[in-house]
Point group: C2
Chain length 277, copies 2
Amino acid sequence: MADGHITYTEDNLTDAVIARIRPDADPRVAEVMTALIRHLHAFVKEVRLTPQEWEQGIAFLTELGRWCDDKRQEVILLSDVLGVSMLVDAIANRHDASVSDTTVLGPFHRENPPRMKNGDNLSPGAPGTPLEIDVTVCDQDGKPLEGAQVDIWHTSAEGYYDSQIGDGEAHFMRGRFVTGPDGRVHCFTICPASYPVPHDGPVGRVLAAMGRGPMRPTHVHFWIKKPGYRDLITHIFKDGDPYLHEDAVFGVKASLVTDWSDGKLTYQFRIPRQDAA
Amino acid sequence: MADGHITYTEDNLTDAVIARIRPDADPRVAEVMTALIRHLHAFVKEVRLTPQEWEQGIAFLTELGRWCDDKRQEVILLSDVLGVSMLVDAIANRHDASVSDTTVLGPFHRENPPRMKNGDNLSPGAPGTPLEIDVTVCDQDGKPLEGAQVDIWHTSAEGYYDSQIGDGEAHFMRGRFVTGPDGRVHCFTICPASYPVPHDGPVGRVLAAMGRGPMRPTHVHFWIKKPGYRDLITHIFKDGDPYLHEDAVFGVKASLVTDWSDGKLTYQFRIPRQDAA
């Protein structure tokens, strides 16, 4: 045995790993890595992770990346079902009650959706219960905003997005509007459905192991952009949906649940100025 | 707004995600996932992870799995450089000072190495400083053990394992011995070198961001197996190596550092019975 060499143990290893971060590292990198190492080690110690469980974890993370491609993002899905995506959203979008709540973007937004104008139909010919969408984009004080870009997208009556149907190339059940002086977007479509998040991969196995279901309650997505204002990425949920209390990705907020029983989804969005606190 | 729907916030989301684990889930799954969710959320809240940083994290984890193949395991490498592998090892191998210390297996062990007998040369014709290896396998009381399988492997004088040279198919600088009644393994080889862990991928970027180097100090690997005894997976390190205090994977333990200055690596391994506390 030689003297002067540290022996890493359960008790000193965490500090030793953190101490290895050089003083000239970017301060934010140092802050994030220090917290990550501390929590990762605390987790391993708290559950006394066994070598077999560590191997399972390694295999899981390896498989996670391999499931990802243009149409599937299994790492985001993991973040969603563990509530991490909504937590990041909550931290980034703290605000008072005068602006609309945000929720997850999800993986089904597409760039360059069909351009539409008020009165158009998002889903011409699609089977399902008719739904009228009538929403207004306002500022924090309730004043209508002109020139806001509003992307709307949702599933079919069977719970599939356009990109999940056929070859996935056609754009429907989605559209892009620009508000006029009254801030209003008004269109026709069919009522979407609740649907499962993809659960045939490693994240599905984690959900099953926890005894959790993969369903998301019925919702319509909105992404509102206007120069000088903060982007609003959110959903409006359908009241009465049986999965509202067990959304697989924890995206539901009470302020985003509305009554569609008369075949109409109405909402007044309020978006804060970019420079708002 | 509809009543009766929970709104997930920074304050209640962690508990809500944990509460979703069903009572009939496997108790160990519930324990591990509860701790994982709590620490993951605590990390995100502590550093106030931004959406941009979250995106970087998602991209990093996605890339990690994509770097993995038969010859590269980037997820294990991440675990190694964050000290997690050695922490799991420390928890699994708590023992008193009468048995040998363990360290990481590393990715370069191969099944079916060349069978060797005492006096053989691990690296015939390989250039480098000669090294004689003379080790004994004993039980916890220092009594030599017959019939122990001893795998030995190490790098070339340039710091490459056989699988990293040429087409990687040839086996050299490695061998498998079985001890006789004196518990001894005695062979000849050349002195290995310090070397960098693979650092051309995502884990290399994390090391660089922390200002850390990728080097591992010079060592020879041993994996000792004997029925009725616990496996011993360890290295013996060369005293005086400049990287002993900054091993990229935190594998060094004082008891595993020995003086090779006379061209000889000697060691007495002591392995515990399977049923030892």
